[in-house]
Structure formats: structure tokens, C-alpha cells
Symmetry: D2
Subunit: 380 residues, 4 copies
């Protein structure tokens, strides 16, 4: 197997012409598309419809080129979008593809060659899985954790990644509790952990994070329970990136890792970010892939960067390295919009590229007040 | 003479208790306060009243401790505030003080010792000047340019800086054309360059920038005219930081440079920023002051950083290094708020400190689409 | 001919299920749909993509039910959406349909019966027209005025309305000058009235308003020129509602009036609004249709209200009846969002219904600082 | 005693010149000022500092004219400000004054004359009271309810209002739980009802509303408990308007009613509003004071309107009269800003005046999803 990745710009949230051109030109085979992760220029909140618009446009286009129906594609291809291109961020989408045998252009050297990337062995491996649908009464609870953990394990199998240590990034899209789903659960005599919509979405993300941590062995089943959620922030996964949305009723999982079973020239690495100023994590994850930033990635290396995924969070204690921030108390701009813009400014400055996936809501995804960064790059 | 600088936090825009404590404790003498440059947690726009609130609170407090009236102080001490603490930015104010002879704690080695700072000779010198009041018909025109240039020259004399090459940062606060001032000018038979409030404010900033550039020899009088304003962006000052506001009727100027006539341990340096991703400029200006960032300033060096001033601008061509940004088209968040948050994220990541003065509206202040950074630091 | 109207709710901007249900149930014939006017829950600004999302969803659905292609439908059926459901406003869309012979349920008494509606004779007549594509150099100019006027006249013919006096509402969607279109025009050696995007959109709306006024005889060709645009606000159409958008390259026109050639029970009336507090205009337009509001429309009359269209504007002089408003200087909330929310609060309070089309950008569309209101209602 | 009221405009939140002019001219005696209720042009949220700025400016000015200290005045004169002048709202403040004997200009006919105002007997009576400081552990609890109830009773005595039935409006400003106050309480071994800041502020408002309802006999002590808070919305006061803020540590109470012990020409009336469209309540409260709105208050009657106070709330069930609203899910504009703009549009349209106090956060203050309106007007 071989993975290949295209990072593409969009002119607006309904614009999938860049991918369509690649399909038409033969650069990408429509049936190779396994998952899409992107940033659209909405506000990233509950009333951000740019995600739905892009997804509808993408599936329509892929339906034309695969002969499969829109509904079928929507259930087969995870399309995880984060709204909000604050500051320097550029609207774009990363198309994660896989095929059986690499074209010459993509072929790399032998996968086992570690070379300059140090501990990063193997080549980029890519797997997806969908869990069974979740009842509203289970969302944000231990049953949700277990459902995600099982899906992560299946996605690892799909990616032919043998060891959890070789997984570097797990993107999960969880269902959330809508008013209708809550009603339905209550009619069935069930209780819900919360009736507050925002807290429910946060709990869903937390369950996703614990599920990933459990599957990857970062967290032990006996080491946490529901009472740890949104409370014991020392417990986290440094490879989980979780979002929660009304548009899914099961957990969609994308696993990225390195595996000797895959060819090509791509590899993935990750680092936890200890806070919003953790430039060291950015420089280190690039170094893991043999790319120097002194202080910025040089143009020839920039061309090797295939995708960057960041998860971050406004520090809920109201301070960053001892100084007060104002993100949490701003009535005009949502706190997640603030933090995405700031962390994107840092990562874009180090890399010299503004096409970065930066997503907020990082509870238990990386250290408290920080988050994580994962990078896919070509071997030198 | 000796300059000393205190960078202080505020709990809210009416909070000047940190400075009052230093005055009460004897660390700062109230009569030494020459100028204040700060960031308040407003929106930075026309309807940002945190600047007026802070200024009123500051002058009230200084009046108590100097025996001078609020009005008198307001005309003597430039207080330049930029609203908007987007992202990681922390509300704070930098108090620029000067006194005749340094206390032992502040005394530094001989000013001529260049040491590790390379081209940065002398010690921090600080001067202020106020121009005559400006008629609305002159704001944003050549007469405005000349008025600013003259005030900059007077502020240089006040600072005992002999050569323009030793000036590293000039903060100007210009008047803008209010509806009432426009009426008055029209009644006097004058014409105005524009009746659009935003364009008028931009033209005022531009006139300030050209005035600084002229006084510092960055621009030649014969090299530009009013037709260059907001058009010929190859013309700029890389040391001017200009704001425009309704609260002043003359140009208030603060000049920061290095001079052999001053003692103490502080020095100032600056660099133009070529765009919002120019991490090189940040690293270089720190290196000019003998401070390394590999990739972040080390704690012992961080303690030497006394103040950071940044000017930036959302690229008006809509792209950063080839990729579309969405700042200019966002109906929900003002473009200046976007860019301040992004550039602050970068500079805070390199320095490890979120108390940075970041101001937007950088037309002709640094390269087009970029801006400038100036730093005050103690010698090692 | 007979017009019929359905006012439908949407759960989100991609939700056209309410119309699809009516088509499936036979209440609406898909081929009867002549135009759609709606409010989506975006921000109503340049970066509001809820309009495109809804349009894509609508045309996809209609394509399924008509056998025509999405592109073909998009060129035949004007779909005019205003983003922004501020305050009490409810996301909804009004489907304007026409058919040859009315079903019994829709059939009304003889059209000539004036009855309680006073001057409103005839029955609701509905016509549409598309102009030829406009070059960027013509947008916002006299050529644009004439193009709109010609399209309005064609739409009147389409509606079989003989006299301009019988027209009560004209919705126009104009193209605007995009960067690409501007480039193209400049390459062809043309000049543009402005390079400022917002001013260009305003000029396009103004040209639309003058075009409607010209076609309806509200304005005389010799009474204005381009120098009147955005200057002589005494010149206006009180029946024009114009929007400008990147998604069209020609002028799309919907004309609503009353005509003896049409059957059914519906009629339309309109009134100019002199300012944002003009409750009298709201009460009067309802009275024109035989509906009392003392102070609110009674439930049995509310059921007769088929659609309400309002155009409004934050007073550009900064005052409403002598008192300062803050809409124009708010950096956090766009002025159009402010005014839509306020006027919608008033109209919804009088009618008791929150499904109102309220659109901003009312330059030369109704009195300066005010706007207009048009209502479709069933005969008693 | 005689009450008199001045409704004054401000040019910005630091502008109290209108009141100062009245003091200088002798129209208002500085020592008569008993309370101030106003709208400032901030965002109305946690980070709205226009309230503090106005209060500081007001107290500074009154200190100059009374010889009392700023601190003393701040503890004696309740200054209740609501940030947010959305839509048509005009920044203004209502100065509530009282003096022993009326000037001829203010003197009215005999207070007992009911005349056209129907059930509204007596003349405007005005009282204030401050409770003892509240510990953080008591805020939002039954102890808070009782503290407010006691203060309301004292303010009624201060106003010489004998019967609760004669009270028409009670404005309460409650303390809220800050992080520091919470810490302090926890150190003293206390528990808090919630650690969530927004919920804590809501509970404080609720305790205020129940306290007012208890003192006025609208609610019975045995009819509710803490378990009713934010749950049993059938329980409410239709005369309570409560805000909660960090700037007070006790409950500040302003009581407005009618009393035969007072002279002058002013009277107050109130009505509950059943929802955001309840135009009937607006028309009725005016009718209570002998003022007709058909559909708008006539100019000669408008001059009699001295002040309007409104409390409102975005319906938490997400619908208004059956149709979905989007206020609660908007990430860009705070829900309270939405509802204030909408209700203000309605009330301003009925009265023809945009100087209305409209405040959100109306939990248990009027019917669920609605609120209340109180009006002060001169007798005809």
C-alpha cells in the first residue's frame, strides 16, 4: 500500500475544483480518496455551516467521478472540517489517499531506511473506521470511550499498523447530543450526563480523547472514569484530535501512523504542545522528520511538508506563563477563534506556510492549556 | 540622563495600581514618567473606550502623586494605547521613565561598550514632543507630514540623539478628522482630502509615517507627495509606529533610540518585518541586543527583555506567501483584530512572553503587508 | 394565471425539506416555482456562505423533481437570499409559484372586487426576467441602470402587469465587481467607477434602485445621472429592493404587483418607511390589505399574511429622530446586522410573526435612513 | 418630597457633560441625585468596561459639585448601567433625583387625582437601599434572596411607599462570585452553588428576582426554594430588573413606585411582557399613564415620557410563537445583544424615541421568554 496526500486551496466553502482538476488530470484517482481533513472559513461554532456546504460539494463531486451515491460516499469517507481561518490561516483541505502500488512520482526509497528522521521508521500508513451509532445516553460516557477505542483499533488494522507506538495522529469525529436525540433517549427512559449543549459537546470530545488514549496505551482503563472528565487534566492523549458534531451519529476515525507495510516517501510525526507558546514542539516535530527551522523552514524543505495538524485550547485558568489573557471573557470573539489565530500565527511563522489545520476544543488532547501538533512530510 | 522602563500588568482598563505601587514603594518617581505605551482589552476600533478609561485613570493617579492637574499631565505625557488583546496577548502598559542619575540597581557598564550587541551602541535614550494643533484641512496632507517631521526632530533633541541612525522606534499619535472638525474646516472655506472617516484615519497614519521617514532620512522630501499616500507602498519608514485618534488635536511623538549621552543598562533595536510570517525579523532584532532565540528566548534572557513593540497589517492583496487569507472579508471579526492575534502569537512564541505591544494600521510603516518590530532590552 | 406563495422554515441553510415535502404531497408543483426569496442564518456579509449553500441545496432538490439540470434551474429561477437572522428573525424562505389554473383551495373571488383593501385592485401577479450579462466597467453606472430598467419592463410583461402603478415590489439581484472581473475590464482598456469592493457593491445596488425607479416612473431619466448616486438621497424608488452579489453576472429581477389578469386570493401592497421607527408604515401597508393591527394583527388575520419584505438602512447621519445611534461605529457588529435586528423586532411585534424578509443596504430604496415594506396577503 | 427625572445623552461612555451642565445651570441640584440608570455603548458582557468608565466619570464630576469623595458617592448613589446599545438604541442615562419641595416648573396637580391614568394613583416615589456585603457562599442562594428582600423593604420605606402594590419597578445590582471571592469562601470552608462564572451570575440575578418578588408579595416564601432557580419559570416577579456585577459586594436596590406622600407630575407604571413580540404590553403600560400609541405616541405625549425600562430574554426554548430563532446558537453575536436590539426596535417604534433602557438576563423577571416594561411619565 502507499499513501499520498494533496493539500489544496479552496476559493470558498463550496469550491472543490482543485481536487476535481487533479482527478480529471489523473493525478488523483477518485476511488483512492480515503479521508479529508480541512479548514473552512466559517466561525467554527454551532452556527458554522461552511462545513456542511463543503461536505455536500465534495460528495457531489466525488459521486460524479466514482459512480457511487452521495450518501454512500458520506458514510465511507470521513470528512473532518474545522471552521475558522482566523488570522493568517488559509482555507484548504488535505486529501488523504491510498492505493495499492505507487506511481513512479510517488515512489520512495525502502521504507525501513530511517535516515535523518531518527525514530520515525516506516512510511505513512492510513486507516479509517466508523463505529456503530451511539445512543444519546452513551455520548460523553464510558460506553463512548470504549466505542471510540474499538474504532481506533479497527482503523489501525485497516492501516496495517501493528504497534500503537507507530500511531502519530488520530482524528475522531463524534456525534453530539441534539435536542431531538436527547428527547428520544429520555422517552426510552434513559438519563443524560448533561442537558447543556456546550458541555455535552465537550464531554463527547473528552470521551473521544480517552478512547484514543486507551487504544494507544497512553491511558490505562483502570486509571480513569467518568469522574476524570473535564477534571483530571493530567490524563490526556497526545495523539488525539477530536471534534464533535451534529452531522454524524457514529464515531468516524482516521488513524495516521508509520508502517513498514507501506511504501512511498511520506512519514508522520507528532509532539505534544505544553502551551500556546510552545515553539519548541513545532521545531521538534519538524526535526523528527528531518526538517530544520532556523528559525524558519527553508523553501526546499517547505516543499516536503505535506500536511500540518494542530490542536489547541485557550488556557482555562486565564493565564499563559503567568500573564493574564482575555480570551475566555471576550463577549465579541469566541475564545476558540482567539486561540486558533494565535497558535496558527506561531506555526505558520515557523513553517512559512499558512495552510495549517488548527482546531480548538483540545480537552484531554495534549497537556492542559496546550495541545498537540502532527506533521506529514516527504523524506528528503 | 538615564532611561528606565517598567512593563506592568493591568487587571482591567481602569487599573493602574501596579504603577501606583511602584510609585509608593519608591521604585518609580512619579515625575520621571515621560510616556506610556500600552495594550488595553478593547476591540481597537472606533468604539473602543478602554483607551480613554485607562488614560483617565492613569492621569488621575499621577495627579495625586505629582500635584499637577490631570489636564496638564495629559498634555505633557504621551499615553499611546492600542486596543485589542487578541489571542495570547496580555493587557499591559510600558512606562517609559527618565531621570538625571541612575540608582545603583539600574546602573550599567559604560555606555560605549558595544559588547555582544554588535551594531547597537549607546544606551536607551528617550524624548517626547508635541506639535502645534493641526487644522482638519491639513490632516493627512503634506503639511501634516512636515508637522510630524518637525516634532520628531524636536523629540530627538529632547532625547539628545544626534544622528537619525541611532533612532530605532518613533511612536506618533496623530489627530484625526472628526465630523465637528470637518464642519469647522468647511466653514473656514477649506477642503478636505476625504470625507470618509476610515480613509481619513488611514491618511493621518500615512502622513505620520512619511513624517517620521522624512525626519529620519529614510525618505527624501523630493521622493514623494500626497499622490504617494496609500499607493506607493515601496516608500515606508521601518521605525515609525503611528496611530490616529479623536482624543488629540496635535501630533504626540515619542522617540526611542540609543545615545552615548545616556547611562543605564537598556538598549533598543528594530527590524522591518517583511510579512506576517517573518520570524527572521523577530529572531534578528533579539540577536541585535545579544539575545538568542533557539527557538525560544531562555528564561535568564527573558528577564532582560524590557519592552516589545510591533506594527503589522493584514496583507491588502489578500494573500500571504501565495495563499489566500480571509481577514479582509470577515464581517464578524475586524481585520486588524485578526492580524494582531496572529503576529502576537508568533512573537510571543519566540520570546516566551505575552506582554507585547502589537498594533495594526501599518500603512507605510514597514514593508507592504508586513510591519516592524522594536525591542528594548538590558545588556547581558 | 394564478400565483401562490408558500412561506417555509428551514432547520439550517442546507435544509429544503419543507418544500420537498410540499412537492411530494402535491401541494406545490415543482415546475410552478418561479422565484425564491429567503433569509438564511449567516452574517449577511461578504463571507456569508449560507446563501450559496441554500441555493445549491434548493437547485439539487428541484433538479430531482423537475428533471432539469441544476445549472439550467439556477439560470431560470431567481433565488434571492439575505443572510442574517438577527434578533427575533426566523430562517425561512418564501416560494413564489404560478400556474395556469387555480386549485379550488386557492381560488378567490373575482379579481376586480376591491372590497376592504381600498386601492389595491387585482390579484397577485408575478414575473421574472434576467438581463444580459454586464461587464465590470458598466456595473454601478448608467448602463447598469438601463439594463435593470429594461429587465424590470420585461418582468412586468412576464407578469402581465400593464401599469407601473400596479407594481408593488421589485427584487433585483445585481452582479458586483470581483477582483477577477475588474482585472478583465482593465485588460480590455476599460475604467471602473471605483476599486473599493464595498463601494462597488453599493453602486451596484444604487444602479438597481435607479433602474427600478426609472422603469416604474418614480424617477425621470432626465432627473438624475451618475453624480446622483450615493449623494442625492431625495431620489429613490419606494418599490425597489436590491442586493448585489458575486454569484450572478446578470441582473435577476422579480416583479410583484396586482393584475386583473390573475386569479387567486392573494394581493400585494407596499409603503415607504421614513425611518427605522416608522411603525405607521407597517400598520398602513397591512391596512391597505384589509388587515388591522391594534396593536398586533389578530390570529385569524395572521393566517392571511403570506409574505413580508422589508428593506432598511442604519441612518448614515448617525442619528434617529435626533438621538445618536452607534451602529456605524461598532467594530464588533456590522451596521447592517444591527439595523436588520431592530427593524425586524418592530415588524414582528406588529404582525406577531418572525418570518420576515429584512434586508439592509437600502441606498435610494425608500427614504434616506428608512426603507420600505411590502406585504402579500390573502383577501379576507 | 418630590422626584424629578432627567434623561440625558452621552457622546461617549466618559461623557457626563449633559448632567454637569444641568447642575451648573441650576436645573439639577447635585445633592438631589439619588440614582442613575443608563445604557452605555459597550458589549454588555464580562469585558464591557464602558460601565466602569461612565461610573468613574460620573462620580468624579459629582464629587466636584458636592464636595463629597468619589468613594463615598459610589456607596451612596446606585449607578446601574447596562452595556449594549444595539440597533436603534441611543446611549443615555436617566438621573433619578428627589428634593424636599418642588420648583414651580415641576409642581403638578394634587397627587390623589387619578384622572386619565386609571389605576395609577399617587406620584412618583423613589427610594434606595444597600444591603450588607454578601459572602460568595451566599450569592445565588436563599440567604441572597432574603438579603435582597430586606433591602427592597428598606428602599420602600426610604421611598415612603406603604403598599407593595404601589411599587412598579425595582432595579437591583447584585454582587457576583469572582475567582478571588470563591477562593476566599473555599478557604473559609464554605461551598459554592456553582464554579461556573456565567451560571453564578445567572443565579445571582435569580436570587435578586426572587428577593424582589418576596418583598412585593408576588411570591410566597413557602412557594419556592433554591431548587426552583433556573427551573420553575412559572415563578417570577414582574417588577424586578436585576443585574449582577463584579463591581459591587452588596445588593444595591432602587425602588420606583407611586405614593400619595410625593408631589410633582410624574408617575410610574409597569406591565409584564409575555414574549419578545408583546407589543400589547408596551401599548398598555403607556395607556396606564394616559398616553395613547395609535400606532405611535404623538409628539406632544412623547414629551411627557420621562424614562422607559425594559427587561428581556432570548427564549431559551429556541422558538418565538412557534418559529425558530437563532440567537442562542450564534457564535458571532452574543444572544443578549440580539434580544436587546430586537425588543428595543419594537419599543422605540411604539414610542418614537430610542433612549430606552433595555437589559437582558431576565430569568424569573417577567414571564419565561419575555420580561417586563416600566415607564415614568408626566401627567397630561
Amino acid at each position: 500500500m502507499q499513501a499520498y496526500v494533496r493539500r489544496l486551496s479552496m476559493a470558498h466553502p463550496g469550491d472543490v475544483s482543485a481536487l476535481e482538476q487533479l482527478i480529471v488530470s489523473g493525478d488523483v484517482a477518485a476511488q483512492d480518496v480515503a479521508a479529508v481533513i480541512g479548514k473552512t472559513e466559517g466561525n467554527g461554532g454551532v452556527n458554522d455551516f461552511t462545513r456542511g456546504y463543503f461536505t455536500q460539494s465534495l460528495m457531489l463531486m466525488l459521486a460524479r467521478h466514482t459512480g457511487r451515491s452521495r450518501e454512500e460516499l458520506q458514510q465511507a469517507i470521513p470528512c473532518v472540517l474545522s471552521g475558522g481561518t482566523e488570522g493568517v490561516l488559509s482555507p484548504h483541505y488535505t486529501v488523504l489517499c491510498r492505493r495499492r502500488d505507487g506511481s513512479p512520482a510517488e515512489a520512495g526509497g525502502p521504507a525501513e531506511a530511517g535516515g535523518p528522521t531518527g525514530g520515525v521508521g516506516g512510511r505513512l500508513a492510513l486507516g479509517v473506521a466508523m463505529s456503530e451509532p451511539l445512543g444519546a445516553e452513551d455520548i460523553g460516557r464510558m460506553a463512548h470511550v470504549e466505542s471510540v477505542a474499538a474504532a481506533v483499533r479497527r482503523a489501525m488494522q485497516d492501516a496495517r499498523i501493528d504497534s500503537p507506538a507507530d500511531v502519530h495522529f488520530v482524528q475522531v469525529k463524534c456525534p453530539c447530543v441534539t435536542a431531538a436525540r436527547a428527547q428520544d433517549a429520555i422517552h426510552r427512559g434513559k438519563t443524560l450526563p448533561t442537558l447543556d449543549a456546550n458541555r455535552s459537546m465537550a464531554l463527547a470530545r473528552v470521551a473521544g480523547a480517552f478512547g484514543v488514549g486507551l487504544a494507544l496505551g497512553e491511558l490505562k482503563a483502570e486509571g480513569f472514569g467518568e469522574e476524570s472528565f473535564l477534571r483530571d487534566y493530567a490524563l490526556y492523549s497526545s495523539r488525539a484530535s477530536v471534534s464533535s458534531g451534529v452531522e454524524v451519529d457514529c464515531n468516524e476515525v482516521i488513524v495516521l501512523g508509520n508502517s513498514p507495510h507501506w511504501g512511498g516517501r511520506l512519514r508522520v510525526a507528532h509532539r505534544p504542545m505544553r502551551d500556546a507558546l510552545d515553539i519548541g514542539a513545532v521545531v521538534d516535530v519538524l526535526a523528527d522528520l528531518g526538517i530544520a527551522a532556523r528559525p524558519q523552514v527553508a523553501p526546499q524543505d517547505l516543499a516536503r511538508l505535506a500536511a500540518i495538524f494542530v490542536k489547541c485550547e485557550p488556557d482555562r485558568r486565564g493565564r499563559i506563563r503567568g500573564h493574564r489573557h482575555t480570551m475566555l471573557d471576550d463577549t465579541d470573539i469566541n475564545a476558540q477563534r482567539h486561540i486558533r489565530g494565535a497558535v496558527a500565527g506561531l506555526v505558520a511563522g515557523v513553517t512559512g506556510d499558512t495552510r495549517i489545520f488548527v482546531s480548538g476544543g483540545a480537552e484531554h488532547q495534549g497537556p492542559d492549556g496546550g495541545g498537540l501538533i502532527a506533521v506529514i512530510a516527504e523524506a528528503a
